[in-house]
Amino acid sequence: MLVLGERAPGFDGWLADGQPAVVVFLETDCPTCRLTAPYLNRLAQSVRVIGVSQDSEAATREFAAQVPVAFPLRVDPELMVSRAWDPPIVPALFLLDGDGIVRRAEIGFDKDVLNAIANDLGQPPVADPFDGAPSRKPGCSSRHLEPAVIGEEAAALNVHGSRGGKASRFELAEGEDEYEYRLRMFGDALPVVPPTAQRVERMLRASPIDPREVIGRIPPCYGEATVEKIAANAVMAGCVPEMMRVLIPLVRAACDERLNLHGVQATTHFAAPLVIVNGPVRDELGFWSRQNVFSNVARANSTLGRALQLILLNLGGARPDGIDMSALGNPGKFSYCIAENEEASPWEPLHVELGFRPDQSTVTLFAAEPPRGVSEHTARSAKGVLRAIARALETVWSYRSCLTFEALVVIGPEHARTIAHDGFSKHDARQFLFENSGIPVSEYDGDGGEGTQLVAQYQETIIEGVRCYQKFRAPESIRIVVSGGTAGKFSAVLGSWATGARGSQMVTYPV
């Protein structure tokens, strides 16, 4: 949409001639446009109001006669004017000064706005607050943003084709800054490496797969992730070419129905796909699993996580200012990738627990909230450390909610050592966490808050002599990974999104 201070593109019927004007975009079947028109009629008695109808000549004539409309109303048959001015919603009102500069740009119906426009033009108010009409009403989407292809039925999405199209190319003009160009055109708010044809070519040479092969279709918009598109995003993220062998299975995992990326990408919740790397590929490509594992510590972690996020954005269409509706978001949406510290773990690593061989490498995706820290520096026993973690687990989703989510526990090496020293296997630790995570029944005092509606489904148990509802559905709802630095007695709990067949399930793919 034209912004304040911008010069409005001229069109026939209106030219900047030293006189201010109000230009309004309307649709003839939009109730809010119908509601707005009489107020504009009042304004048109003393200032110039020009209407632009997004509908046919006949519909516009009928609309003008019915309302009736007392200002000139021109049609915009090819929507060329609408495209140039780009209002997202109608009615859209633009107040232009005598030089054709936009002084106000407003959408929908709002009496205060109409009166403010009148005031800007030195006119008395046009909208009486008590005239029976609502003070505000949202409009309809502008016609030029409605689906472009006309037909009775939409063509089905080709979800089975294995050969995608070749990526198009952007030719930059001489002197155009490629970083600025990139920021305008694609990517998120951070700088990326410009995906030049040369760099993408280098990335593609590291993969034996045909550049046109479709690895997956990325929800929620189901953009084709061809090897070439994956490579372009990998370049932008700063990946080394060898990262392609991790990125390809990672994209396959991301498109696995069980992960339900469609929901994860569009939810209002905090979840973002966390990558967990296991096996020899950690050393081969430099994945870091020690101190600062969730931070900006290593190129491999940072760029793999970032490449995935850019793919979700550029191919999946989950724009954080659009389809991705997370209320508060997640810093992991820049990059969210850790590796397990298998060397410092007393237990079998995640991929072995899931049935892979120790000498295999895997990538795992888990739709996770940001990590919450658990500090326990004084407990000297397995149970003492695990109890501290259990208290954090009880806060997952919301304190009184039970059963409908999972959690990932990232146990720091010092905690893992204390737990294992008391003879706890990974299985024992998980069982203890499951049995000792619960919410006291006395917390459900009938006030009807979140988590109280499903009480009939909750299982009762006794934890340390207190009647509680079991927090998790089963021990398997708690996943354990050992990661982080060997100094500092910390662990982290990461809540999931809605889980199980009706939500998002963790997926692991071999590299």
Partner: protein, 91 residues
């Protein structure tokens, strides 16, 4: 300098939306519950209002198995024939 387009280049295929209804009287309206808690409370009230105030002829009630995924084809199929569908997002 030549840059490779890293974005989805598929052209969206979509049907033209049907004309907006000018009146609800005598129409068949479908209410789709996405199965979030509270959705039924909202839709029950909406159904009553549609019938009492707007003379809606009939109301079809449908429910998605889970709010986390798109509606399965069989649910969409059952909405066919309605003059309009109102989808309830609730929490």
């Amino acid at each position: 300098m030549t840059l490779v387009n890293p974005m989805n280049e598929a052209i969206p295929q979509a049907a033209l939306p049907p004309p907006r209804l000018t009146s609800l009287a005598g129409r068949r309206i479908a209410l789709l519950d996405i199965s979030k808690p509270g959705g039924d409370v909202f839709l029950d009230r909406l159904e009553a209002l549609l019938k009492e105030r707007h003379g809606v002829a009939s109301v079809i009630r449908e429910r998605k198995p889970t709010f986390t995924k798109p509606a399965p084809p069989e649910v969409i199929e059952r909405l066919r024939g309605a003059d309009a569908v109102i989808e309830a997002l609730a929490d």
